[in-house]
């Protein structure tokens, strides 16, 4: 769940990080008044959840209150990646001497949080990591053991920062690490974190993503920030395909067959089981496959739910085949899912033996499921074939065009 910049900054300020004066405005008159109150040059920033504001022209600098009002009018109609602004943030324009980048996020490979720090902030960190890897440090830390400022210092020092800057940056980065852990975040990013001309530091832009499942644990904070229970805060509006996926899940209370996310590829995925979705999605990509979607099935979905999800995925233009794969299941019936996906293929006017590249769901009632799959000539495998290899078989079929 993504926070707007102004909400991220409110949390940073609550935790004592250095920020300049700023105001959220919703009219040109308010923009003029708040710019005058701040004094001097200001920056107006569209409050959207997606990135790319600067390129879209949704961030502008103003030297006078009247210019701020004019910029407000100019920014308000601009959609950034299809998203209209929630409001506009007016804040003082800081005299920057040096920009840094710092983020705390999850390192899936090492299964630990990681601090990413660079002394080349203000620009795309992926680009910096590629062109100047010596200027980016990645420092893992434990989410279970107590953390100390020393960890923050190591992360900063590893990006060749030393002296006074190292000492002043350490408490800021350490606080960001604590915020990340305390609020169950998936990303806490400051870019840029600036050293100003007077030697002080300031958070100029911030970005926070909270684990959606953690909302219940942080109701007080969300209320304080004004984030309503019904705000989904996705990074982009759902596509029609994703909306249909949500309907498939919503109309039937039995099990889960949803969380559909649309991608550009040609291999439809019906995947799930305790983290299996992410593993299988990654496995498909690792083998060079192009997923048409992400989704999650589990908790024993009904036959009709599995059927309708399959029909939806096969209805997506360019989807030639689907891969039906899960981890070993104990609370989902293999035979019921097999019935669902086969019925979905048939109702979509497709031959299940052609449309299902691989069926790899071992577990409860698998003997019954395998009988069904054999009857319809569907290629299947049991738990002796790993999820990774099953994904490879599906991708190989796509690449062979068979």
């Amino acid at each position: 769940m993504r926070f707007y910049e102004y909400e991220s900054k409110a949390l940073f300020e609550k935790r004592g990080l250095p920020l300049g004066p700023r105001h959220l405005v919703t009219s040109a008159d308010e923009a003029r008044a708040k710019a005058a109150e701040i004094g001097g040059s200001v920056v107006l920033k569209s409050q959207v959840l997606s990135g790319g504001r600067m390129k879209a022209g949704a961030v502008k600098f103003a030297d006078t209150p009247d210019e701020a009002a004019a910029h407000f009018e100019a920014i308000l109609p601009i959609e950034v990646r299809g998203e209209k602004p929630h409001s506009i943030l007016v804040e003082s324009k800081s005299p920057i001497a040096q920009e840094y980048y710092v983020a705390v996020t999850w390192d899936g490979r090492n299964k630990k949080p990681v601090v990413i720090f660079s002394d080349m902030g203000g620009i795309d960190i992926e680009e910096v990591a590629e062109t100047h890897p010596e200027h980016v440090s990645k420092t893992n830390f434990s989410s279970l053991l107590p953390i100390t400022p020393r960890l923050a210092k190591e992360a900063i020092g590893a990006a060749t920062v030393s002296g006074s800057d190292l000492n002043k940056l350490t408490p800021i980065v350490f606080e960001l690490m604590k915020i990340f852990l305390e609020y169950d975040l998936t990303l806490a990013e400051i870019n840029p974190l600036a050293r100003l001309e007077d030697g002080s530091f300031a958070v100029l832009d911030g970005h926070i993503d909270m684990e959606a499942e953690a909302r219940g644990s942080h109701k007080a904070l969300l209320k304080e920030l004004g984030i309503g229970d019904d705000e989904t805060r996705q990074a982009r509006p759902p596509t029609p395909f994703e909306i249909e996926g949500a309907k498939v899940n919503a109309v039937d209370h039995r099990g889960v067959a949803g969380n559909v996310v649309e991608f550009d590829g040609d291999l439809g995925l019906v995947i799930g089981a305790g983290g299996g979705s992410l593993t299988l999605f990654d496995a498909v990509r690792k083998h060079g496959g192009k997923p048409a979607n992400y989704c999650e099935i589990g908790g024993n979905p009904s036959q009709s739910k599995a059927k309708n999800l399959t029909k939806l995925i096969l209805s997506k233009p360019g989807v030639d085949k689907i891969a039906v794969m899960m981890n070993v299941v104990s609370n989902t019936r293999v035979d019921i899912v097999a019935r669902g996906v086969i019925a979905g293929c048939i109702e979509a006017g497709r031959d299940p033996s052609e449309a299902i590249a691989i069926f790899r769901i071992p577990g409860a009632w698998e003997e019954e499921g395998f009988k069904i799959l054999e009857k319809y000539g569907v290629d299947y495998c049991d738990r002796s074939v790993s999820m990774y290899d099953a994904a490879g078989r599906a991708v190989a079929k796509m690449q062979a065009g068979s």
């Binding site: 009904s302 036959q303 035979d335 019921i336 019935r339 019925a343 048939i346 009988k371 069904i372 009857k375």
Partner: protein, 74 residues
Amino acid sequence: MPGLFIDVQVNADVKGDAEIARKLEESCSVDIFKATDAGVEVVEANLDECVLCDLCLAAAPEGSVRVVKLYEQD
């Protein structure tokens, strides 16, 4: 019309029995049976939801209800 995977057959001699119809409706977790004034009706749209629990077999006289796995037939 049977389902793609499952068919459920009820003998004619118990089909009109209101009490058996009620028991069948109550026993099925996926609503394959519907008790009507005329007895029991098989809801064909739900046949493929059958979880093979056999509770319907226990709810009716022995041999009067059959669950057929169509995928086991040639």
